[in-house]
Amino acid sequence: MPGQDNGFVVFSGVQKSYDGKILVVKDLNLSIAKGEFLTMLGPSGSGKTTCLMMLAGFETATQGEILLGGKPINNIPPHKREIGMVFQNYALFPHMTVAENLAFPLQVRSMSKVEQEEKVNHILDMVQMSSFGNRRPGQLSGGQQQRIALARALVFEPELVLMDEPLGALDKQLREHMQFEIKHLHERLGITVVYVTHDQTEALTMSDRVAVFNDGIIQQLDAPDTLYEAPNNSFVAQFIGENNTLAGTIEAFEGDFTKVRLDNDQVISAKAVNVSEVGEKTLISIRPERAETEEGRFPPGTQLISGEVMEFIYMGDVFRTRIKVGNNENFIVKSRNSPAQTRFQPGEKVTLGCLKEDCRALDYHTVAHEDLT
């Protein structure tokens, strides 16, 4: 467990149940450092939003303690927590102008008019919306509303800002643009951000660390690259990025590696991540870009897996080849569009090559597709 005394935000043994029967959050322990950008990522119903709401003070923890700056905040009402928050639907007050919205947190803090104006102008500058002070939220586009919501959460200079799927309502391009803006603001201001999303790309591009939630439990808490390249379990492997799985049975252990017999009777080596005994069923996770179909490009030490092409999809910059391996008809290989790349025909036999380091033997746990959205 992370150190519970030195984190800026600490969840310690937190549990939450709404109905007294089902735990939505089961024994959450999490420590967030000052200035960190931490993302809570997970499918809907995984407990991530509940955690955020407990931190903001809109839900109370059934058990456990939440510390902010070393002080327990369980019994502090939300308006005294000094936490900025950006809501999914922005929650800009429709009956106030943009400037009034931004001045609201300053007014309730009894700041002088001059100071209010100064801060509002400054924050409007920061989100590049200086000329919009007199507009009503209803007159702004989604992206502009988003910036004002962000500005409003920052204007009273909280040390901690929570964001609840703030980019969910924006279109793809704007979302990507806003991701960078939020990231840059975070770097510039040095604030701590706890960000909730179900969009893994968002999580990977913005965060210092990502906590992957499922079923009320943090499945893995790591930096984005570790999360992607070294998932700890099948859920994380399938939730983060694209993933191919091959089912098999453990035959033997060889140091860090294990021999796995696939369901087409081929035996390959894979990194033993969370498998422990011979005879156990396992899912081997292989990223689509780590499998190779061109024999000329096989790196030394490649293991070969045979398959049959089901479909070849042209996507412009990349090709996706859907291959049947054993019982899995959805083994995807992603290859760069180059003149040397073979464009396969359905039905062709093909040999896949991948390094044993890129094969990770994980727990045998299938995730229903709808859980991933």
């Binding site: 003070g57 809109f58 308006h79 007050f93 429709p94 309730v108 959460a153």
Partner: protein
């Protein structure tokens, strides 16, 4: 490039578009036609009729055409004396009117403006037959025995129609028309007595060969002194104010009903204030407004917390409570109002409990009904759902994240409510208040049952004039005033709050 103007087979495009749009419009019209017709018949036309009735005043000049046209030129002050000639005209008018009984209607109409006229007209209509007209009839029929049937009168008049018997002709025509109009004319109808008087009068005042020929017949008859006769029936015929009233209400249209509905009356020099004991309507209008505002306020104070509570419940429970809110609609209005009578009367449940608990003594039981308090209590209860429903549906649309956002920004729960939640619920308050206010300003049945004398509304007076006093003109004027007040308040509301700020959901 395609020439759009003659696109599609030579027919100009704009015409094609027009045609297809016209078809669409016709179809839309067809859909709303049943309702439109229904509203026209049951709403627009009656309202138009009401507005018309509030100024219409044809009765007086219709029944008393000669009298009113004679009075037109007169200036009647307090020392004015009715000339003899006037009574002659009055005699002809009244004689015809009494035959078809319209004189009582004019009497009642004028009685609205000056009490006593009704009985004056009734009495005069009855006594007018004893003015000695039968002697004239006897004398004339002695010379012209055939003048006992309507037909022969017509022949006689047409034979001698050289302008000498102008007045007789006119009186006869008017008499016959009036009878036919009032369904009193049949083949057996005999010429009325007074026609002989008119004929004799024409003869006496005429200067034609026929008149000279006929003169001997009537010169021996006693002359009827109309003025003296009328004054003998009632001294009031000498009173200038009676004549002034007839004069003021002779035009076909009058503003008298409207003046009446704001406690004014027509005087010699324009409108004047009624004496204190006759003033009523301004008081009732202001009372109606005051009580409607109070009821709206009470509904708001009671309804807002309930709506807030409902809007924040889970869907299923909110539905259950909504049904409870609507439950009163399932009982008859009359039953609910009567229930309040049971609860609030002097020996009623509320007073009994207060006495039993010892809050008040038996001798100081509260007067909760048959006054304003009763009306306000009962009507607030009845109209409460009209406040709750729009409030609820507006509050339902206020996302909880607004208040959360306010709190996260540092606002106390009270500030968050006051500055964020409340302003967003204003459209609901507006809609609910307008509904309750407009419903209550025209409410009738509840104030009628529990209002007593001090808790009645203007609509109770309107109903009284429509069904009891039968002064429809005044009822219509009061109704129009009410309509005007509502529209004026609507305009003020639109100015102050903005009508697009009203949301029903």
């Amino acid at each position: 490039m395609v020439d759009v103007s003659t696109f599609a087979g030579g027919t100009p495009l704009h015409r094609k578009v027009q045609r297809s749009l016209r078809l669409q419009k016709l179809r839309a019209l067809g859909l709303i036609a049943p309702l439109l017709i229904f509203i026209m018949i049951s709403f627009v036309i009656p309202i138009g009729d009401m507005l018309f009735r509030s100024v219409e005043n044809q009765l007086v000049s219709e029944v008393l055409p000669r009298t009113t046209s004679y009075l037109e030129a007169e200036t009647i002050d307090d020392h004015w004396e009715p000339p003899n000639n006037l009574f002659w005209h009055l005699y002809v008018d009244l004689a015809i009117a009494s035959e078809v009984k319209t004189h009582t209607r004019v009497g009642s109409r004028l009685n609205y403006e000056k009490t006593g006229i009704s009985s004056l007209f009734r009495k005069s209509g009855r006594s007018i037959k004893r003015f000695g007209a039968d002697e004239y009839q006897k004398a004339i029929t002695k010379v012209y025995p055939e003048l006992v049937s309507v037909e022969s009168w017509e022949n006689f008049l047409s034979e001698n129609n050289q302008g000498e018997l102008r007045i007789t002709q006119a009186a006869f025509d008017f008499w016959k028309e009036s009878l036919i109009e009032n369904d009193k004319f049949s083949e057996k109808t005999k010429p009325s007595d007074f026609l002989f008087v008119v004929l004799a009068n024409d003869i006496i005042s005429g200067n034609t060969p026929l008149a000279k020929e006929l003169l001997p017949i009537v010169t021996d008859l006693p002359q009827i002194k109309f003025k003296e006769q009328f004054l003998a029936i009632d001294e009031d015929w000498a009173d200038p104010s009676i004549w002034r009233t007839i004069q003021l209400y002779s035009p076909n249209f009058t503003n008298g009903y409207y003046l009446n509905s704001v406690d004014l009356k027509k005087g010699a020099d324009g409108p004047e204030i009624r004496p204190e004991n006759e003033r009523l309507y301004l008081l009732i209008f202001s009372r109606t407004l005051f009580m409607s505002v109070t009821i709206t306020l009470v509904c708001f104070l009671l309804g807002y917390p309930i709506a807030y509570f409902l809007a924040n419940l889970p869907f299923k429970q909110a539905n259950l409570f909504l049904i409870l809110v609507l439950l009163p609609f399932w009982t008859s209005l009359l039953v609910r109002t009567s229930a309040w009578k049971v609860l609030l009367q002097n020996e009623g449940v509320v007073n009994d409990i207060l006495v039993a608990v010892g809050i008040i003594s038996n001798l100081e039981r509260l007067e909760l009904i048959n006054n304003q308090t009763g009306t306000i209590i009962a009507m607030s209860h009845i109209l409460l759902p009209f406040m709750i429903l729009p409030l609820f549906s507006v509050m339902k649309t206020i996302h909880p994240s607004y208040v959360r956002a306010a709190k996260s920004l540092g606002a106390t729960p009270w500030t968050a409510f006051r500055r964020i939640y409340f302003p967003q619920s204003i459209p609901g308050i507006g809609a609910g208040s307008i509904l309750v206010f407009i419903l209550s300003i025209g409410y009738y049945i509840t104030p009628e049952l529990v209002g007593g004398t001090t808790g009645t509304f203007i609509s109770n007076r309107i109903a009284y004039h429509i069904s009891s006093s039968l002064n429809w003109g005044l009822g219509a004027a009061l109704g129009s005033m009410l309509l005007a007040v509502v529209l004026a308040l609507y305009w003020v509301y639109d100015r102050m709050v903005g009508i697009d700020n009203v949301k029903l959901g």
